[in-house]
């Protein structure tokens, strides 16, 4: 995305209307809503407590009417784990995104608005963080900080903000040259007012599209970290289910244990990817012509 691109700023209502007519955007939205529903009503949808250890005869059962997705090596119901896992994925996805896009917006806005030395220094720092390979740093940080869902959120957001800072900065650069900003400046508006009241609202659509795509990468990161055994043991997540399935040695037999968590992760990530791309197309008509 370059700075010269003109971004169309639709109201929320128009955006929604266009989204409904966009096939993949609508599909993404539906997938996300299904998982959100699952997460909110988890106690009502789940068959049992996801961490409740089953009786000996309930160990590694294939899918059946009693356990629609089977059970794991401790006799725990996999469907219930999937349902509760949605909470972890969505919590990490949304919170990490809010923090990381928040940092990115503040840095991108300051950098783009003030330019000069401020811009130079902030962008140097941004580039520096951007070059550090993300997953290895996340692994090291989570290994040192210890397994907790809050640490995972912190680790993901602290590493992923540079991309949003870059995108937002380039958008600010184009918005701040527009006549209405100049007009407000002539009327004596302060820098803070210009930044937050004049420029920010015009950057919001880009921030929104970016944020949606960020959710999917945050969900992916959480899944990988949990798969590598760095997940929060008190909150069952899809990545952790795959970790247990993989390290249990039961994969040769218990295929159902590995199948459903992966499908859940892939579906949710795809949902956010489809929605994000659709929003991008809508606010960025030049891309849509392609």
């Amino acid at each position: 995305m370059t700075s010269e691109e003109i971004v169309y700023t639709p109201g929320m209502k128009d955006l929604f209307k266009e989204l409904i007519s966009n096939k993949s955007g609508l599909l993404g939205l539906i997938i996300i809503l299904v998982f959100v529903f699952m997460a909110i009503f988890a106690p009502h949808i789940a068959i049992s407590d996801p961490l409740k250890i089953g009786k000996p005869h309930e160990i590694l059962l294939p899918p059946s009417p009693d356990h629609p997705l089977g059970t794991d090596d401790l006799g725990r119901d996999i469907w219930s784990q999937i349902v509760y896992g949605a909470r972890v994925s969505l919590l990490v996805g949304f919170l990490a995104t809010i923090i990381c896009v928040g940092i990115g917006t503040i840095i991108g806005l300051t950098s783009g608005f003030f330019g000069g030395k401020v811009d130079e220094i902030l962008m140097r720092i941004t580039d520096m963080v951007m070059v550090i390979p993300g997953l290895p740093l996340m692994i090291v940080l989570s290994a040192v900080l210890g397994p907790s869902i809050w640490n995972i959120i912190f680790v993901i957001s602290v590493i992923s903000w540079p991309y949003s800072a870059r995108v937002i900065r380039s958008q600010v650069l184009s918005v701040k040259e527009r006549p209405f900003v100049e007009a407000a400046r002539c009327l004596g508006a302060s820098d803070i007012y210009l930044m937050f009241r004049e420029i920010l609202p015009n950057v919001v659509p880009i921030v929104l599209a970016e944020a949606i795509l960020y959710v999917s990468s945050a969900i992916y990161s959480e899944a990988v970290l949990s798969f590598l055994g760095l997940g929060d043991p008190f909150h069952i997540s899809w990545g952790m289910m795959l970790h247990f399935a993989f390290s249990s040695g039961a994969l040769a037999y218990a295929w159902w244990w590995a199948l459903s968590p992966g499908i859940a992760i892939a579906l949710l990530i795809l949902g956010f990817t489809f929605l994000g791309s659709a929003v991008n197309d809508i606010i960025n008509p030049r891309l849509k012509e392609r």
Binding site: I139, Y220, V224, L251, A252, I269
Partner: protein, 329 residues
């Protein structure tokens, strides 16, 4: 003359920023492992039977009784002579463990990048050429899917299907036990047989990314004036695509590849763990499982420095090839 002067300044600028980045990563690494709650010796000896005197001796041996700034100084000095400490788990220098595992990652990564660049570049170019068509839409959707689906899960599915059920491929590792006494050709075939599934998994993951990058780069190029000129000259569309558009789209693809090394490393870490491929990614996982912090720290630092240097190289090459880049910040 002017061209070269600009290049020198560009390289100097990149060198300085690369050095600052390296310094920052080294410092971050020091802070993460030194300033966090507790210290390495306490982490090693959580056993209450270890006496206070023994801990003090260990603290002295590791230099942890010195002030923090001095520890930092020693750490940087040792780093320069390639000393990354001793692995708790293997009881040998960390750098030796890393160098022993490095070739396997390089081999797997090179094969995967080679195959998926070729496939991705052609599929992406084709999709851009047929933009808006059904073919374009399906290539785009498939790429988005393979790019989004976690590669460690794809690996697990392949493992279940082709290794456990069908028995066509090994369960992991790089060699069949006892193969060392077989003829060289058999050894090579055995190695490739072990590499097949990890390679396919990575191919899935990377190709999707390459298609998306190449398609975008092609679409940018197709909007340029010289393409219109080529059409006006009456050149055949296939010729324009191959000789004019693809060639120019390859440059951005090459840089984006270098900038995306971090993303590729992520894929390789996941795949190595699933297929027990003894490279750096698997080593990181082993270090976590063994709670071997010096090893974990060493692998991270090694990967980070390699990626930073690769980026520097890509920047310089790109700046040399395309003078326009030097003007930008």
């Amino acid at each position: 003359m002017f061209k070269l002067a600009g290049l020198k300044k560009f390289i100097l600028k990149k060198t300085i920023s690369t050095l600052i980045t390296l310094f920052a990563v080294i410092t971050i690494n020091f802070i993460i492992f030194r300033v966090m709650p507790g210290n390495p010796v306490h982490m090693m000896f959580t056993d209450p039977r270890v006496s206070k005197e023994n801990i003090d001796v260990m603290m002295k041996r590791f230099g942890l009784d010195k002030p923090l700034w001095m520890q930092y100084f020693i750490y940087v000095r040792e780093l320069f002579i390639g000393n990354l400490g001793i692995s708790f788990w293997k009881n040998v220098p960390v750098i030796d463990v890393i160098l022993g595992r490095l070739p396997q990652t390089i081999i797997l990564l090179s094969f995967a990048i080679l195959l998926s660049t070729v496939a991705g570049v052609f599929l992406g170019a084709y999709a851009a050429w047929k933009r808006g068509s059904k073919i374009d839409a399906s290539i785009l959707t498939v790429s988005l899917v393979t790019y989004s689906v976690p590669s460690f899960w794809v690996g697990i599915l392949l493992l279940i299907t082709f290794s456990y059920w069908l028995g066509l491929f090994p369960l992991g590792g790089i060699t069949t036990p006892g193969i060392a006494s077989a003829p060289l050709l058999d050894q090579i075939i055995d190695y490739l047989w072990h590499m097949a599934l990890p390679l396919i998994t990575l191919f899935f993951y990377y190709t999707g990314g390459y298609v998306l990058i190449m398609r975008n780069a092609m679409l940018d190029v197709l909007g340029e004036d010289y393409i219109t000129t080529a059409y006006a000259k009456g050149l055949k569309e296939a010729v324009i695509m191959r000789k004019h558009a693809m060639r120019n789209a390859l440059l951005p693809v090459a840089t984006i590849t270098a900038l995306n090394i971090g993303w590729m490393i992520a894929g390789v870490v996941e795949v190595e763990v699933v297929f027990a491929w003894p490279g750096l990614g698997k080593l990181m996982y082993d270090a976590i499982m063994q709670r071997d912090y010096p090893l974990l720290q060493g692998v991270f630092l090694f990967i980070a420095i390699s990626v930073i240097l690769a980026n520097f190289l890509a920047d310089v090459i790109y700046g040399y090839l395309d003078p326009r880049v030097r003007e930008e910040k």
